[in-house]
Symmetry: C2
Subunit: 336 residues, 2 copies
C-alpha cells in the first residue's frame, strides 16, 4: 500500500484516553496545592485522590489531547479514527461513548484488569487558564499490540501526542505506528503537548522530528523548550531545518506556519471571553488537520485552527458543544 492509495481515514490519532474532571478554583487554591499554573503534571493515584477531595464540585467530560483533536477533526466533517486505552469501567464507557458519538472510529479493546480509566483533574481559574493534573491509569497500558497496522496504513495522517512518551508501553506503540505510516507512504504528525513534557523527552522528540515526523504542532513555550532558545524566532529558524511543516501557535498572537522557505503568519480568531482554555492547542490542531484533509491551502488550514481554538475556549471542556462544520460555515468556510 502506498500514500497514493486512497485513505479510508483522513486522520488517525493515538493518545492517552482520558476523562477530564473540571472544577473552577481561585489562584490561592493553586498556590496552596503548590501547582504551576497553566502546566500539565503527572500525578499518582493517591495524589489524584487527595487533590479531587480538595476540589470543589466538578463536571466530567471526555478529554485527552489527541482524542480532543480527533473528535474535533470528526466534528469538522472529516473521517477520523482513534487508538487509546481505557479500562472497562464507567468512565471508560463515557470516553468510548463520547468519541464514537462524534463519528470517530474507536475500537481499541478496553483493559479488563489493572488501573481504572485515566482522569485529568483540570483546575480552571477565573482568567480562564487551566492547570492540569493527570493520573494516567489504564492509558499506561496502551502498547504496540494495540496498534492495528491496517488502520494506520488506511489513514492519510497518523497524529501522535508527545504525552505518549510518558508511559513506556505507549512509547513503543507510538514508534510502531510511526514506522508503519512512514513505510506505507502516509504522513506522520506530532504535537509536542507541553513544555514540561518536552523537557522530559527532548532528545527523543528531536530524533522524531528529524526522522519520521512530517508535520509538527507546538506552541511557543514548547518549541522554545525543544530547541532551548531564548526567542521564538531562533526556535523558528531551528525547526525550519528539521521539519517539512511546522505549525506554531502563540495564543492571542495567532500562529506561524513554517513550510520550507515559506512562513505564514495568521492572526488569532476573535474571542469575547475566555471561559476555559482547556483544549485550545488540541482544537487548533483539529482545524488545521481538517483543512489539510479538505485540501485547503496552508493559511486557510491555520484559519480553521484559529476558529476551532476560539470556539473551544469560550466554553467549559475540550469537546465542542456545537459541531465545528457549522462554526466553520458561519465563518465562510463551506464544505469542499
Amino acid at each position: 500500500m502506498s500514500g497514493d492509495h486512497k485513505a479510508d481515514y483522513d486522520v488517525l490519532g493515538i493518545g492517552n484516553a482520558i476523562v477530564d474532571v473540571l472544577a473552577q478554583v481561585d489562584d490561592d487554591f493553586l498556590a496552596r496545592q503548590g501547582l504551576v499554573k497553566g502546566a500539565m503534571q503527572l500525578i499518582d493515584e493517591v495524589a489524584a485522590h487527595d487533590l479531587y477531595a480538595a476540589m470543589g464540585p466538578s463536571i466530567e467530560a471526555s478529554g485527552g489531547s489527541a482524542a480532543n483533536t480527533i473528535a474535533g477533526v470528526a466534528s469538522f466533517g472529516c473521517r477520523a479514527a482513534f487508538m487509546g486505552k481505557v479500562r472497562n469501567d464507567e468512565l471508560g464507557e463515557v470516553f468510548a461513548h463520547d468519541i464514537r458519538a462524534t463519528g470517530v472510529h474507536f475500537d481499541t479493546p478496553a483493559a479488563t484488569e489493572g488501573p481504572t480509566t485515566a482522569r485529568c483533574l483540570v483546575l480552571v481559574t477565573p482568567d480562564g487558564e487551566r492547570t492540569m493534573n493527570t493520573w494516567l491509569g489504564a492509558s499506561q497500558n496502551l502498547g504496540p499490540d494495540d496498534v492495528e497496522a491496517d488502520l494506520v496504513k488506511a489513514s492519510a495522517i497518523t497524529y501522535l501526542e508527545g504525552y505518549l512518551w510518558d508511559p513506556p508501553h505507549a512509547k513503543e506503540a507510538f514508534k510502531k505506528a510511526a514506522a508503519i505510516a512512514t513505510q506505507a507512504g502516509r504522513k506522520v504528525a506530532l504535537t509536542l503537548s507541553d513544555a514540561f513534557c518536552v523537557d522530559r523527552h527532548r532528545e527523543s522528540f528531536l530524533e522524531l522530528i528529524r526522522g519520521p515526523v512530517d508535520i509538527l504542532f507546538a506552541n511557543e513555550a514548547e518549541i522554545k523548550s525543544l530547541y532551548q532558545t531564548r526567542t521564538f524566532n531562533d526556535a523558528l529558524h531551528a525547526v525550519r531545518a528539521d521539519c517539512a511543516l511546522a505549525v506554531l501557535t502563540r495564543s492571542e498572537a495567532g500562529s506561524v506556519i513554517v513550510e520550507g522557505e515559506d512562513v505564514h503568519v495568521i492572526g488569532a480568531h476573535p474571542v469575547e471571553k475566555v471561559v476555559d482554555a482547556t483544549g485550545a492547542g488540541d482544537l487548533f490542531a483539529a482545524g488545521f488537520l481538517a483543512g489539510l484533509a479538505q485540501g485547503r491551502a496552508v493559511p486557510d488550514c491555520a484559519r480553521l485552527g484559529a476558529i476551532a481554538a476560539s470556539e473551544i475556549i469560550q466554553q467549559m471542556g475540550a469537546r465542542a458543544i456545537r459541531p465545528f462544520h457549522e462554526v466553520a460555515a458561519e465563518n465562510g468556510f463551506h464544505p469542499v
Copy 2:
C-alpha cells in the same frame, strides 16, 4: 427533642442520588425517540443503554432533584445535609464528591452490590428545555434503615422529593423521615417533582399534604395535576385549604406563594438566554429554603428562589458554577 431546640442543619434533603448525563439534541431527536419534551420518564437499564448510544457527546454532572436543591441551600451559605443511595462505583464517587464539596453533610453508605449509581440522560434542545430519562439504579435501594433518626431530628426542615415515591423502599424511607420530623416538632417540606409523577401518586401526595407536609413546592403543571383542575387559580384555592405554605412556580411568570389567607405574587428574575432549564425548580426551592433558614420574609424567600433559578438556567447542568451567596449578594441579599 422539640422544634424549639436549635437545629444543627437548616435543611436535610432526601432524594434519589443521580448523576446527570447531558447532551444537546434537536427536536427531531426527541421525536425519533418518542420522548415527551420537558418531562421526566423512568427507563430501565436496557433502554438507558440504547438511548445513551443514540445520544451525542455528553458531559456528566451530579444531579438528582432534592440533591440539587440541597447543594443549592449549602451554596447560599446555609447548613445542609442529604440522604440518598449510590453504588460504590465511579459515578457514585462523583456524586458523593460533588455534594460534599459544596459543604453538604452526606454519609448514607454506598451500596456494595446491586445496580450501579443512578443516571439521568438529560436531552437539552436548542430552546434550553430539558427532557429527562432516568434509570434509578442504586437509588432504588434507599430504605428506612438509611434514615438516621438523629439527623432528621437535628434538621429544622426535612425536604423530600416526590420522585422518592417511585422506588418502593424509598417510599418507606420517606414516610419514616416525615414521621420522625413531625414528632420532633420539625418542619416537613415536599416537592411534587413532575406532573407525571403526580399522576402516578396523586392520592398519596394528597394524604401527605393534608398530613405531615408543612411546606409544599410545585410548579403550575404539577399543582393542576394534583387537584385535577383546569386553571391555576382553582388549584391555588384547593391547596390553600390543604397546606400551611405552598410555593407555586410558573416559569417566566414568576411565583405565587400561598400562606394561609396571604397570597404573594413575585416576578421572575431576568434571564438573558436560557441555556439549559435543568434544575430551575430545584434551585428555586433552594433559594426559598435558604431564605427561610436566614429568617427572611416569605416574599424575599421567593425572590432568592427566583435569583437561583435564573442563575442555573443560564448554564449547563443543575449545580451552580458560582456560589449562590455571591449571586445573592450581587442582587442586594447580604448575609443575615
